[in-house]
């Protein structure tokens, strides 16, 4: 009995710091950030003076907040369905018993291995108006009427960012959908083939309806990413030109560390957190807490 107790103590000694640090760094910090959003902390000296909902009232009257929110919604509305569709398409193509499937999958996944700082630098070169890859390519193909300022054009910059992010995440999306496709029993598809169903019908009626799990997973992952995105846009455009590519994460960073409005920055962060939790928690609860009953 005694050794058993000693063993429990060893495990306890290891578990306690791990769990405590997790609670502190994730939940403690989130709570602390929430608290800071109710203070008037500006400038270098921290302040804990409570000002109620003042920061939130300022936020809702701040045109920059609405611009950032609008840009963020645009990003979500284009990026999330975009990356899911490309991923589904690539997964279906890879599922056709192709030669070199592994090589294709690796190539598609390569952009996802890179830091956003690297991809932003690569795409700065792609989109460079003067001699960047895309404009030069359009020139060569005789499509020079399509040449444009890309990320220097306030009307195009969010679309340019979305396209590059779809490029970066398409491989990840493909992996999720491919795992889903592979989990469908082959007998079902065989049965449909025997019944004389066309390829299109098989996908429409048999395959796609069974991909609910990968659809939900990828939706949650990409949605959360688009809400908290910062690195790629910051390195590529600094939120510019003007405010045209400010999204919530970018504005939060500028307000906090550029203008030293710490309490106000905490308010932005709280909004990002609340929206993320609203999307994620119901889903996660369903997946992980259900079995308890």
């Amino acid at each position: 009995m005694k050794t058993i107790d000693r063993e429990k103590a060893i495990v306890g000694l290891l578990v306690v710091p791990a769990v405590a640090s997790m609670l502190f760094f994730f939940y403690g910090f989130s709570g602390w950030n929430l608290f800071l959003s109710f203070t008037d902390w500006q400038g270098f000296v921290p302040s804990n003076r409570l000002v109620g909902f003042d920061n939130y009232l300022t936020l809702f009257r701040d045109p920059l907040f609405w611009t950032s929110l609008k840009n963020n919604f645009l990003l979500i509305a284009l990026f999330v369905p975009g990356v899911m569709l490309v991923g589904l398409l690539l997964a279906i193509l890879l599922d056709q018993r192709v030669k070199g499937e592994g090589a294709f999958r690796t190539i598609y996944l390569l952009p996802f291995s890179l830091s956003f700082v690297v991809t932003a630098t690569l795409w700065a070169w792609m989109y460079s108006p003067k001699m960047g890859t895309i404009n030069v390519l359009l020139d060569k193909l005789g499509l020079d009427f399509l040449k444009s300022g890309w990320i220097t054009d306030p009307n195009l910059v969010m679309y340019c960012i979305t396209a590059a992010l779809i490029w970066q995440f398409a491989g990840y999306s493909t992996v999720i959908f491919l795992a889903g496709l592979r989990s469908i029993p082959e007998s079902q598809i065989k049965a449909a083939q025997v019944d004389g169903a066309s390829v299109y019908t098989i996908y429409r009626r048999v395959v796609i309806p069974q991909l609910k799990a990968p659809f939900v997973t990828s939706f949650i992952i990409f949605m959360c990413f688009a809400l908290k995105a910062f690195d790629f846009i910051w390195v590529l455009t600094r939120g510019g030109p003007g405010y045209s590519s400010h999204i919530l994460g970018v504005t939060m960073y500028k307000e906090t560390f550029g203008l030293e409005k710490f309490a106000y920055g905490a308010t932005y962060a709280t909004v990002i957190l609340l929206v993320s939790l609203l999307i994620v928690v119901p889903f996660l609860y369903k997946v992980y807490a259900k079995e308890e009953k």
């Binding site: 058993i4 495990v11 290891l14 791990a18 291995s113 795409w123 460079s128 390195v235 919530l248």
Partner: protein, 270 residues
């Protein structure tokens, strides 16, 4: 050509064009990094260099060498500590169900989705209070603990595949919870450790925001922050920017090319 054959051709054409799209920015980056500044202006971004030169790569490496070492330190410390704790927690969550264990595990998983923005300001404050603000040590400390939820999740998922009967057999033999971990679980943990470690290495190596906020000066900053600075200070020097990108991209590219199947197993679970 029959219909089936033409469909095959279409499939391959599509696969190849998407592969081309995926590789296009990388190709453009590599060929540009091998050109002199003069050739960058005179040639297109896609043509291979007429006179390849390693000068930009050497110059970029000289600029990035200290931050590269910093990032290695971060990756080492963060990966080892997170994996160790993650393995133990994953073991407990997968093999010892107790009242509320699902709920506690839910709390672990939610951590993966908490946006980093909420941690920035408290993090800055804590690090200034303990005198680590601006230093590499601040990041070392944070990466050691911030990877724990992710590692716990990965280990828990993979340990589910180990039959519970192994655990019961060890218990019957009188092994306690710690001996069972050491004698039964750890020897079966090579693949889980590889998967979790590769995930941590890529995540920490590629991270940017925390380094941007918490570190000051070349002696402290991770390589991603240094690359962003390089991009900001050498505007127009595309060959140098691409050369810097290659150095930062190389380790994770190698991991994905040669150990991609482990990475995929890790990401497929999340």
């Amino acid at each position: 050509m029959s219909r089936v054959q033409s469909r095959r051709v279409l499939v391959y054409l599509l696969l190849l064009s998407f592969a081309g799209l995926a590789l296009l920015p990388l190709w453009s980056g590599v060929v540009t990094a091998l050109k002199s500044s003069k050739e960058v202006v005179l040639s297109t971004p896609l043509t291979p260099p007429m006179r390849p030169t390693f000068a930009p790569l050497i110059e970029a490496l000289d600029y990035l060498k200290r931050p590269l070492v910093n990032s290695l330190v971060l990756v080492g410390a963060g990966t080892i500590v997170s994996c160790f704790f993650g393995s133990i927690l994953g073991y407990l969550f997968s093999k010892y169900r107790f009242k509320g264990s699902n709920l506690l595990f839910l709390l672990v998983v939610i951590c993966l989705y908490i946006p980093p923005q909420v941690q920035l300001i408290p993090m800055t404050r804590v690090m200034s209070n303990v005198g680590l603000y601006g230093k590499l040590g601040a990041l070392v400390l944070l990466y050691m603990f911030f990877g724990i939820p992710m590692c716990t999740f990965v280990f828990k998922t993979l340990y589910e595949e180990i039959p519970t009967s192994y655990i019961r057999a060890a218990m019957v033999d009188g092994a306690g919870i710690w001996t069972t971990y050491r004698r039964v679980i750890l020897p079966l943990s090579v693949i889980p450790f590889v998967i979790a470690a590769l995930l941590q290495v890529t995540i920490i190596w590629n991270d940017y925001l925390w380094g941007l906020v918490l570190t000051r000066g070349m002696a402290n900053m991770p390589v991603t922050v240094a690359l962003a600075n390089l991009k900001g200070s050498f505007v127009g020097a595309w060959n140098l920017q691409m050369a810097g990108s290659i150095w930062v991209a190389l380790p994770t590219l190698i991991i994905f090319v040669f150990l991609g199947k482990y990475i995929i197993r890790g990401y497929a679970g999340i």
